[in-house]
């Protein structure tokens, strides 16, 4: 960890010697129905780590895509190392030394690491791939920057941290001097974050410039030399870590008082709603993705499950919903539903907010009212005797739109016309409006702006007070700690630790999530 440099010193050093590594002036980008960036000004000094902060939907990703040549700005100029540039594709950006590590990794699972790294910049002639030369260079870069990357395995067999290092190596392989990292710590636990930051120090020592996009303010304050805040598509201010606290930074990002997810009094009863016993989900090769999991959720209780993505959370939720085959027992309010179909589980009062709202939660090309029927097409008021009651369904949809503040001109627009936050509100409203007994909420506020996030937390808290049992899966540790009555950690499909939300810290949770040994307070 580095102490922040006094801003004046580095600025005056840099100003006289080298031009900014990247300089954006007046950048504006519009998409149909929305202005993603408006009049953005950004100046990144060479050899520094410069952070770009903003909440979800503020326009950070679009800005990065513009710098990397994946989108063209409608207005404004880009300068790299003092020279004016125009990018028509990522190749142009790569050619001037810009490399990008995407938030959603761009790797082909069926290719080897080597194939993924060299794609587009292959050594050898047009008639023969020079695999040996590629392998040599990859190993050389890996050793030089301490990345520990093996060129031969298939990417599908690599874990998240390894994949990220492959992405970094991809950029370095192409001679990147300016590295853009888009939300790099979103999928890492605290220990892996430390490793990443150490790697960034190495890069800085070699003279590289890092542009670091994140909404995780404590990390940003740790690693960045300068911080630019972006809100609603435009730059707000550029500060140094010494000048601001985390809270002030957050307020710059949101522009108003921050909501907090803290729940106050306990509403946990002793009536069990969901009991899961020895639940095991296996993949095609017989490996356990969910391994002998047991827990109970009572009415009025929120059970949070913390874990790095890919440790079985998605499979656990799918198994409880009946979407995936599983061994073991699932008991809902005293009834054994282990072999009951998804439809019947829903009819028994299970609601589901899926992790991927587009894939599992919505019919994008259908109007809103049909999307509200989705998942409830066998229950009153939506249907009776096998027929869909349009009038009642539409009335119910109007109610959901009103109660959950879904911004839409009518209930006949197709779901694809709504913004992500409004889509999520619609889904939450739909699932809650059926008066469920159990709610499975996977990342319920992912990709949602702060205002909508607070509203969703409110709804969850209210329902919980009325006796709803909730299984909460989230990558947002603050959300988990704030909303949960009890907390468990999942690792490699097993529940490995229990924690008390009142006393546990994100670091404790992170340690348990990677199995790096537990401290006495936070571990089972």
């Amino acid at each position: 960890m580095t102490a922040a440099q006094p801003p004046e010193a580095s600025a005056s050093e840099a100003a006289g010697t080298r031009p900014p590594a990247v300089r954006l002036q007046g950048i504006t980008k519009r998409f149909p129905g929305v202005v993603a960036n408006y009049d953005v000004d950004l100046s990144v000094e060479p050899g520094t780590v410069h952070a770009l902060c903003g909440e979800n939907g503020a326009g950070k990703s679009t800005l990065m895509k513009i710098i990397y040549g994946m989108q063209k700005p409608d207005e404004g100029t880009i300068e790299v190392e003092g020279k004016h540039v125009t990018f028509h594709s990522p190749s142009d950006a790569i050619a001037v030394g810009i490399g990008m590590v995407h938030q959603h990794f761009k790797l082909a699972d069926n290719f080897t690491v080597l194939e993924n790294v060299v794609l587009g910049s292959e050594p050898g002639g047009p008639f023969r791939l020079d695999v040996e030369a590629a392998r040599r260079r990859i190993t050389e870069i890996s050793d030089r920057y301490g990345l520990d990357v093996d060129p031969d395995p298939l990417v599908q067999h690599l874990g998240v941290g390894d994949r990220q290092r492959v992405e970094i190596l991809k950029a370095l392989y192409r001679g990147a001097r300016i590295l853009i990292l888009d939300e790099p710590t979103a999928v890492l636990v605290p220990q892996e974050v430390d490793e990443l930051f150490a790697a960034l120090e190495e890069l800085k020592a070699e003279g590289l410039t890092v542009l670091f996009i994140s909404h995780k303010l404590d990390e940003v304050l740790r690693v960045a030399d300068r911080i630019t805040v972006i809100r609603r598509g435009t730059t707000v201010r550029t500060v140094t870590p010494a000048e601001v606290s985390s809270r002030q930074l957050a307020e710059l990002m949101v522009g108003s008082e921050l909501p907090s997810p803290q729940t106050t009094e306990s509403t946990v009863t002793d009536r069990p709603v969901l009991t899961v016993e020895n639940l095991t989900v296996r993949d095609e090769d017989g490996r356990a993705l969910v391994d002998d999991v047991s827990f109970t959720i009572h009415a009025g209780e929120v059970l949070g499950i913390a874990g790095v993505e890919g440790n079985g959370q998605a499979e656990l939720v799918d198994a409880i919903m009946g979407i995936r085959k599983a061994e073991g027992r699932v008991v809902l309010d005293g009834d054994d539903v282990s072999h009951v179909s998804t439809r019947h589980r829903r009819e028994a009062g299970v609601a589901f907010i899926p992790e991927d709202r587009i894939r599992q939660g919505l019919l994008l090309e259908a109007p809103l009212w049909e999307n509200v029927v989705l998942g409830h097409q066998t229950s009153v008021p939506n249907s009776r005797a096998g027929l869909i009651d349009r009038r009642k369904a539409r009335a119910g949809t109007s109610q959901v739109v009103k109660d959950y503040d879904v911004r839409t001109p009518s209930i006949d627009v197709t779901a694809s016309a709504l913004s992500g936050g409004n889509q999520q509100k619609l889904i939450v409203g739909r699932e809650m409006s059926g008066n469920p007994r159990l709610l499975l909420a996977a990342h319920p506020t992912r990709g949602v702006d702060v205002g909508a996030q607070a509203a969703i937390w409110d709804h969850l808290r209210r329902a919980r007070a009325e006796g709803l049992a909730v299984l909460l899966i989230s990558a947002d540790l603050d959300e988990l700690i704030g909303l949960s009555d009890s907390l468990r950690v999942i690792l490699r499909g097993r529940l490995v630790a229990e924690a008390d939300p009142a006393t546990v810290t994100p670091e404790d949770l992170g340690a348990a999530m990677t199995g790096a040994g537990a401290r006495t307070e936070g571990a089972a």
């Binding site: 990397y68 994946m70 989108q71 594709s89 990522p90 190749s91 790569i94 990008m100 995407h102 938030q103 959603h104 761009k106 790797l107 082909a108 699972d109 069926n110 290719f111 080897t112 194939e115 993924n116 060299v118 794609l119 587009g120 910049s121 292959e122 050898g124 002639g125 047009p126 008639f127 023969r128 791939l129 298939l154 599908q156 991809k170 993949d283 095609e284 090769d285």
Partner: protein, 422 residues
Amino acid sequence: MTTATATPPPTATPDVEPPRTRAVLLRALALAVAALAVLSVTRVVSGAQDLTSSGTAGAALRLAIPIMLAGLAGLWSERAGVVNIGLEGMMVLGTWCAAYGSLHFGPWAGVLAGILGGAMGGLVHAMATVTFGVDHIVSGVALNLLGPGVARFLSSLLFTGSEGGGVTQSPQVEQPATFTVPWLSDALLSVERRRTFLLSDTAGVLRGLVTDVSWVTVLAVLLIPASIYVLWRTRFGLRLRSCGENPYAAESLGVNVYLYKYLAVVISGGLAGLGGAFLSLVATNIYREAQTGGRGFIGLAAMIFGNWRPGGLALGAGLFGFTDALQLRQGETSVHALFLALAIGLGLFGVWLVVRRRPVAGALSLVLAAGSLALFTLTDTVPAQFTSATPYVTTLLVLALASQRLRMPAADGLIYRKGTAK
């Protein structure tokens, strides 16, 4: 990335770099010997001498080639992420253009014309799917309707009025040259005549492969190793395959995904066109309506059977060609005998599947084996109308038994738009 088409889900079997060539060839050889043994046993037991004759082998080769070319066409396209159901339509264009080319400019011009005709069809498919983002299967179906329509129209314009020509067929055309390896051919013939177990069968099969073989066949066969080399050992191939695995990754690295998809689909059309040219110039010497007979689809089945790899595809095409050849020649006895071969083969396959811990597929295989054996013993011959359905039944069987362990390119069928990556 998941696909939008309704084809089998990906499984855990990884699609690795092509394994060491020598190991692959040894495995292929072992499989060939085993197959010959099964057929030899069948021949001796059932008395169907034509099973492994050089005539059948030669016919099998001739019938396998268009299927193989169609499958290769499908492979090139799907490896770049574009599903090409329109192979049938492109093949039809190939048959017509080849006949026309040969009629007016000679046989090899005909071959070239056939390739170009198919490539034009491929271009249309590429425009619809890549530029306009139409669903791949819908576009393919549209091409299958358009291709024969165009052929018919052009026939009415250009073939009517010529001797032997009409709306549904062309006049007789000149065929490209064939070759025979003389001394080898005669030597093998004498071994074949002796009818000894396994030796004569081998001789018969080998003789069919060196007698009266068209140079176009040689060209087609060479396209298999050529495809393997280009797709897996060159920069062009890597980029093309990346479009089928993760086009967004390719895009982010500066690969022009649209260009590679276009190239792949046009090449695909050209290969289908070559398959069509083979049908009208080599397999027969005339263009005839509906000459393709579904081979475009059987080719796709061969491609799936081969797990989207050229080697496996060739094997599948050989299998389909063999069954097709059998039914065309002494159909009634040979196909009947095939039931026995099928029973033995499926029985062995079923046992192997059960040992490999795949009981459902194994049980299915064994049940089919028993049924096949029953059919063999209870009937004497197979009626002529049914034998013509042999290749199609074979296709269904193969797909039913093999489909679930296959892995298609990860982004196959994905409607890709530049700039829409997350």
